[in-house]
């Protein structure tokens, strides 16, 4: 009973925030709506007895990624989006049709297929079991994902530099007395 109430509350909040995210003209309002979506989703994870995922959802998405998005919006002073002449207007009925088909499919599946949800013990979502799983059974995917993140990090740093890294290293080793790279002087 209480669980159903909270599910409807947070699911409704998530959907409402998602609609607001798309409908808002002001980019900062959209960002705030997205934070709302993440927080509601994390509450839903919590109700599905996955506390670790819920906490990580808040820390990574709401706490880290969205802070950067808000930061960029604030720094660039992005103004509210203006309504433009719709160039792809013929796509609107197509979108409605596709949405109708999707909803029809969902209703059909819900009616046709009856699944007994598997009984999952509440131990699965705990930090210990996730940690053990990550470092034993799923070690390889875990490591590959971290290397992917490392590559993204290195790529971002390479793109952010004005001078190519190899050239900068060569110049530094050639002229060790100058401790200020040329790129910073130019700025």
């Amino acid at each position: 009973m209480l669980i159903t109430f909270f599910f409807i509350l947070f699911a409704g909040l998530a959907i409402g925030c998602a609609v607001a995210l798309v409908a808002q003209r002001n980019p900062l309002y959209s960002a705030i709506s997205l934070i709302g979506v993440f927080l509601s989703l994390s509450s839903l994870y919590l109700m599905l007895s996955a506390p670790f995922i819920a906490a990580v959802q808040v820390i990574v998405y709401a706490g880290a990624i969205m802070v950067l998005v808000v930061f960029v919006i604030m720094l660039l002073n992005v103004t509210a989006e203006r309504r433009r002449r719709q160039r792809l207007a013929f796509l609107a009925p197509l979108a409605a049709l596709l949405a109708a088909i999707l909803i029809g499919e969902v209703i059909f599946i819900l009616n046709a297929v009856s699944v007994n949800p598997p009984v999952v013990s509440s131990e699965v979502g705990l930090t210990t079991s996730i940690g053990v799983g990550l470092f034993t059974k799923y070690l390889l995917p875990f490591e590959i994902t971290s290397i992917l993140l490392l590559m993204a990090l290195v790529g971002a740093m390479t793109l952010a530099r004005r001078t190519p890294i190899l050239a900068a290293v060569g110049r530094l080793s050639a002229d060790a007395s100058s401790d200020m790279p040329e790129a910073e002087v130019k700025e």
Binding site: N26, L28, Y29, I32, I35, L39, P51, F52, A54, A55, V56, V58, I59, A62, G63, A64, V67, V70, F71, M74, L75, L126, T127
Partner: protein, 349 residues
């Protein structure tokens, strides 16, 4: 009384939240007073001592005065965000108090043996970090929505500072987590009850404690890291345009953050409610817990009376190039010692 009954449990949790809320709000009020009196003492003056005995009613007088002020909204501000920002700041500041255990299991009249805590769950530490990281929005949005360049500068500085020092803060806590093998703050506190209640984590994690303390002071925007509201440069930083109750919310949020950060330091490093004699008189745990928090609050005020402010580039360099590598080194050492502890003990046998 049966504590496992869900209705009774829920009622008790609400009662606990109410008591903790009131106690901490009172603590905030008297921290403000203590700050002014102790700063006065440090600077060789008296401080407020006229309202009530020794100025004890001064925070309430200030509260009423600030409430009576006109509630101003800047002309060109983004109204909704302007209202949202102080709310976010105060809610995130107060939400973390539920995870800290205030004392051990005590015998209360009518209730029988009751643990003095509000909630205990598996990811308590991650919950604290998550809520803290959401707290950045309060300050950043306040700075942006005020439509004032000083506010915006303050908000941006503060967001950058919080994001940078959050990393060092989180990494400093990893050492304790590695040692205790759990993220549950109640269990971490329980594990420190050896040695007549003096088996505190600070003796195993001195580096982690120092890194945490510095990062925590930066997280709460206090001297010497109070650049977001450096009054000589930025008027008052992100809350320049806020008046009346909205200013009070920010003001309270800052002091609440000080207290919750002290609570986390107490629980993880200083043994929480543990101390000599707690096993005999469990209520003594409450006294120890409060005393440790008061020590941290005094430390905050002491630092404010002593240290000058950092420059912004010094702040960033210090956070990224000194604190973060130090915390990483601490994790590396802790993990190594944890993994090879039996071998290391064998060497000295």
């Amino acid at each position: 009384m049966n504590l496992d009954n869900p209705v009774i449990h829920t009622v008790l949790v609400f009662v606990g939240i109410t008591i903790a809320f009131l106690a901490i709000m009172l603590l905030v009020a008297f921290t403000v007073l203590a700050e002014r009196r102790v700063l006065g003492f440090i600077q060789g003056r008296l401080g407020p001592n006229r309202v009530g005995y020794g100025g004890i009613l001064q925070p309430f007088a200030d509260f009423i005065k600030t409430m009576m002020k006109e509630d101003l909204v800047p002309d060109q501000s983004t109204r909704f965000v302007f209202f949202l920002a102080p709310t976010v700041a105060i809610i995130t500041a107060i939400m973390t108090i539920i995870v800290y255990p205030f004392g051990p299991v005590v015998n209360l009249p009518f209730l029988g043996s009751t643990p003095l805590r509000i909630a205990e769950f598996d990811v308590a530490l991650l919950y604290v970090l998550g809520i803290t990281s959401v707290g950045v929005y309060g300050i950043a949005l306040a700075g942006w929505s005020s439509n004032n360049k000083y506010s915006l500068m303050g908000g941006l500085r503060s967001s950058a500072q919080l994001i940078s020092y959050e990393i060092a803060l989180g990494l400093a806590l990893v050492g304790v987590v590695l040692m205790s093998g759990t993220l549950n703050i109640y269990k971490i506190v329980q594990q420190q009850s050896g040695w007549f209640g003096l088996n505190w984590n600070i003796f195993y994690q001195p580096v982690g404690f120092i890194v945490y303390l510095i990062a925590a002071i930066a997280e709460t925007n206090r001297v010497p890291f109070d650049l977001p509201e450096a009054e000589t440069e930025l008027v008052a930083g992100f809350h320049t345009e806020y008046s009346s109750i909205k200013f009070l919310l920010f003001f309270n949020a800052e002091y609440l953050n000080m207290i919750t950060v002290s609570m986390l330091a107490t629980s993880l490093f200083l043994g929480g409610w543990n101390g000599p004699g707690v096993s005999v008189f469990p209520l003594l745990g409450l006294v120890y817990f409060t005393a440790k928090i008061l020590f941290f609050i005094f430390l905050y005020i002491w630092l404010r009376g002593t240290l000058p402010r950092f420059r912004f580039d010094q702040l960033m360099n210090f956070g990224w190039k000194f604190l973060m590598p130090l915390a990483l080194l601490n994790i590396f050492l802790t993990a190594t010692v944890e993994a090879y502890w039996s071998d290391i003990r064998g060497l000295f046998r």
